[in-house]
Amino acid sequence: MGSSSSSMDHIPNAEELMQETGFSAAHLLRLYERFEFLDKDQTGELRPEDFGAIGGLALNPIGDRIISAFFSPGQETVDFPSFVRVLAHFRPNGTNRTRNGTQQEPVNSRTRKLKFAFQLYDQDRDGKISRAELLQVLRAMLGIQVTEEQLQSIAERAIQEADLDRDDAISFDEFKKVQQVSPHPQTPTKETPLHPTEGGR
């Protein structure tokens, strides 16, 4: 893991990635170091096990969903560019310094962030959060004390709240609307504490 690659040369397509994701060179370098660190067997690609080895993620109730978000369907590994592209969703918006006109929408726009979040729910990628999908998330996030009945009714209620077209599922538009009704500081649209640079001070 300790490869001493501290220069941008080692990163493939660094320039393009910076353009695309809006990360600065320092961010990218730092992410690359992390990527290499996670990539225990030095293949240049991460497998889900590599993610699973992160202690905090293993304890995250929805860690598996987060991990799977990195892997596009049919892919068993993720390379660095894709890795960075996914992470780019978490850049705070409003800080796009490298926006060029060609890009239709930055990856960290509110919509894209919401889309990302939506896909964490929508595991079958049918564009809808079904009741079952919602239930699974709830089940993962709620303590063991909550009975299934309660879970059911909470899911029911959540769907009712959001469901505008009465199809018993939450579509992306509905999802977006729900989030807009009362924008909460913790929606990913707001500045998340995530920065590839520094955690604390």
Binding site: P48, G55, D64, M141, T147
Partner: protein, 836 residues
């Protein structure tokens, strides 16, 4: 005969006296810790319990005669430990009392309640003219009361967030405390110049000394509130760290100013010497801490044969660090903190899981007792001590303490903010400054003021006033204010359930991504240290240094493994139990008419959500809670549930054969702890199945059922394998993505992922061989689990998840199958346990 009657009479009287003594001691007992020997009251003028004066002359003179006394009492002999015990008991009862009615402690911090009880007891003592206990003798406080509290703080320090924020923490702790001391000291000195107040005789040094006392922030109350309302980690850790380190800073400042206060005049050279001493004291304390921490870690490397006394080393070494630091008059607080942080990591890997639990419990227990007593005595002493009340001085003290704290935070934050990624907003700053309650340290230091200071009583009174003001007024009001300010509030009335769910989901995502980005491993020195640690320190200090990855990963990996094993048991997962039905009924539900939700229902839902949703980074928070032990249940719960969901997604029907019978087994896994015991348990269990037995076992539903692979007790991989095919299944599957990724995900968190590791991983968990695996897969399900089709779906009858398993249920169930088997399975389990 006469003497016999007399002695009988005396016996009765003695019993009466006993009772009376008990009563009296409850109210007026003393806690003179410094007396290790039976008290000789002449040595300690403070000890004059009046019952002694009354009792002794009356009760004992006759015993001087030659007859063997039938009943004697030697109260002085046991007085000190006896009264100490009673005090501790009383305080503990008080704590129990608070928690009977839970709402009290939500709105009023526990410290307030303890002080209040102390005030009442103090009032009683005062009315019976009882002397206050001499707990706040300098030596007692610093040698006995303080170390447990600091050890607790150090031992349960959330290392990661702490080191991420160490700059900010030190900034606030050192500079902030200096700022407060000097600011308050100078302002008070300015006030003293006004003749109207009549306090001109307080000179600058004394003011500074006093200011250094009251600038120590004790954030216990604030932390509890912060934790409850889920304030962000940054504020939390800053308050925590600040409280930790400004103890050290304050003690240094105090001793410095106390030294200066004695001198008639101070020249600039002394100031420089003071600064130099400051660094000597701080760095020296840290060095001693490291030294003893490493020695302790090294010692525990060899304690595996004497498990009984393992926990002792932690306490002895940290106390030793404390005492030695005290010996050299360097910061003993820093020494013990550093010692605890240093040793924790290594010690917890070296000692057995039980010793580890013991250590944690005892650390918490001692700290809680200490702190309870301190607050309790604070109340008592407030009443019984001599006060000197000066309106002006005390009012201005309160005012300045408040203002300088606020100003300090404001200014210091402006300076530190550019260096922080997550900047403190004004609301955060308000929380930080308002959370600056004064507590035990302040109180103790006030009582240790030397008698040479002529306004000592005024200082004591003012300190108590500051403490009581901050603890009561700020402590009680901080919750409503923070909630009003919405530092981070869960707005239950306005938000929809959707928002609540999504919000929490986002928080999990963000924290997951943070972990993924490895927030903290990017520090250059951290990487360096990690390498150094892996290469050298671990080799030296750990008995079993096979774990190669990060600090936590070993432990977590083991826990993960536990969870996996738990799920491997065909019916082990209780949490998932009720949900199976629901999954099957999904379609029916979808078609049923829309339910109307009453407002009350919705409120209840919010309630359920807010109470039961997993906290973000629960570990961090829980560890730092002053009064509660870290709860690892939730971690396990999460792991188990995650794996449950994977399982469910893989094969919707796989839970069909779930029955209550298997609870015991799951529980067994549950109680298994990482480390050697896991290993031994599995080894034994594997040995214990003969081929023939397995069939019987299977029918009893307790042990794994694949008879053809008796060496492969788990059928876990079977499910994994199925992922591919199940991935294609519609609707009910949790992760119905295209097959390969489905397998991937499983790989990542199932044993398949760790299948590659066991060879080098520390635990030789019962991984099956790949050949068996393949074989397993070929077996048709129904052939392998004949009972499955027959068995009705049990889930609803399962006991509530709380009761993970009555342990005693196990033998009975197994016994139902085969009495012989019970023997073997129990034997294996028993030895598995005892191996721990």
């Amino acid at each position: 005969m006469g003497t016999l009657i007399l002695s009988q009479f005396r016996t009765q009287r003695g019993v009466g006296w006993m009772l009376l003594l008990l009563l009296l001691c409850c109210f007026g007992g003393k806690c003179e810790l410094q007396e290790s020997k039976p008290s000789t009251t002449t040595d300690f003028p403070t000890i004059k319990p009046f019952h002694d004066e009354i009792n002794e002359p009356q009760a004992f003179p006759e015993q001087e005669r030659a007859h063997l006394p039938v009943f004697t009492m030697n109260y002085p002999r046991i007085q000190v430990p006896f009264e100490f015990t009673l005090w501790v008991l009383l305080a503990s009862f008080a704590k129990i009392g608070f928690h009977i009615y839970h709402k009290i402690t939500i709105w009023i911090p526990e410290s307030c309640l303890l002080i209040s009880i102390g005030l009442i007891v103090g009032g009683i003592m005062y009315s019976v003219k009882e002397e206050p206990p001499a707990v706040f003798d300098t030596t007692i406080f610093f040698l006995y009361m303080l170390p447990p509290i600091v050890l607790d703080n150090g031992y349960f320090m959330p290392t990661r967030p702490f080191f991420e924020n160490i700059g900010t923490v030190l900034w606030y702790a050192v500079v902030g405390t200096l700022w407060n001391s000097i600011g308050i000291g100078l302002s008070l000195f300015a006030i003293c110049q006004f003749e109207v107040f009549g306090i001109q005789d307080i000179n600058l040094q004394e003011n500074l000394l006093f200011a250094s006392i009251i600038s120590a922030v004790d954030p216990v109350a604030a932390l509890n509130v912060f934790e409850d309302i889920g304030v962000n980690e940054q504020i939390y850790i800053v308050i925590f760290g600040e409280g930790l380190f400004n103890d050290a800073v304050t003690v240094v400042l105090y001793s410095m100013f106390a030294f200066l206060a004695d001198m008639p005049q101070v020249d600039s050279g002394d100031v420089f010497l003071g600064v130099a001493r400051f660094f000597v004291v701080g760095v020296g304390g840290i060095l001693f801490g490291f030294l003893f921490g490493f020695v302790a870690a090294f010692t525990t490397r060899f304690t595996h044969n004497v498990r009984q006394i393992e926990p002792l080393f932690v306490f002895m070494y940290s106390y030793l660090a404390y005492l030695v630091a005290e010996l050299f008059a360097i910061s003993s607080v820093l020494a013990i903190i550093t010692c605890a942080i240093t040793m924790k990591y290594y010690v917890e890997e070296n000692v057995s899981q039980r010793s580890c639990t013991t250590i944690r419990h005892v650390v918490k227990m001692l700290a809680t007792i200490s702190e309870t007593l301190i607050f309790f005595f604070l109340g008592v002493v407030t009443i019984t001590t001599d006060h000197e009340w000066n309106w002006a001085y005390i009012t201005f003290t309160l005012l300045f303490a408040f203002i300088w704290r606020g100003l300090g935070i404001l200014v210091l934050t402006q300076i530190i903010n550019p260096f922080r990624t997550i900047q403190f907003t004004f609301k955060d700053q308000f929380g930080l400054s308002y959370g600056g309650l004064r507590g035990a340290i302040c109180f103790a230091l006030a009582f240790t003021l030397p008698n040479t200071i002529n306004r000592r009583n005024l200082f004591v009174t003012a300190s108590i006033a500051v403490i009581i003001f901050t603890v009561f007024i700020q402590g009680i009001s901080i919750r409503p204010i923070l909630e009003y300010l919405n530092i981070r509030r869960t707005n239950k009335d306005l938000n929809t359930i959707n928002v609540e769910v999504h919000t929490r989901m986002m928080e999990h995502v963000v924290s997951g991504i943070e972990d993924l980005c490895g927030h903290w491993s990017h520090y250059y020195w951290k990487d360096k240290f990690k390498k150094f640690n892996d290469r050298i320190l671990r080799r030296i200090l750990l008995r079993d240094n096979r774990a190669e990855s990060s600090i936590v990963s070993l432990y977590k990996k083991l826990e993960l493994q536990n969870a996996i094993e738990l799920l491997d048991t065909p019916m082990g997962d209780l949490s998932a139990a009720p949900s199976i039905v629901s999954l099957h009924d999904e379609k029916m539900e979808a078609s049923r008419p829309k339910k109307k939700f009453l407002a009350a229902d919705v409120r209840k839902m919010h309630d359920i959500l807010s109470k039961n949703m997993y906290k973000i980074r629960q570990r961090t928070m829980a560890y730092t809670n002053k009064y509660t032990l870290p709860d690892e249940g939730q971690t396990r719960e999460i792991l188990i549930r995650r794996h449950a969901s994977v399982r469910r997604s893989i094969r919707p029907g796989s839970f069909r054969d779930m029955s209550a019978q298997n609870i015991p087994r799951s529980q067994k896994y549950y109680s298994l702890q990482p480390g050697g015991n896991l290993e031994s348990a599995f080894a034994l269990r594997r040995r214990s199945h003969g081929g023939g037995e397995v069939d019987r076992l299977r029918s009893s539903g307790v042990l794994p059922r694949s008879s053809s692979h008796s060496l492969v007790p788990m059928r876990r991989l079977n499910t994994i394998k199925e992922a591919g095919s199940a991935g294609g299944q519609p609707a009910t599957s949790a992760r119905p993505r295209s097959p390969p990724p489905g397998v991937d995900i499983l790989d990542e968190m199932g044993p398949a992922g760790s299948r590659f590791r066991p060879r080098k991983a520390p635990l030789p968990a019962p991984r099956r061989h790949s050949s068996n695996w393949a074989e397993d897969d070929e077996d048709p399900d129904d052939a392998e689990y004949p009972s499955r089709g027959v068995e009705p779906v049990h889930p609803p009858q399962l006991p509530p998840p709380r009761g993970w398993a009555p342990e005693n249920q196990d033998p009975r169930e197994v016994g139902a199958g085969n009495p012989l088997l019970r023997h073997s399975s129990q034997g294996s389990r028993g030895s598995g346990r005892s191996g721990s």
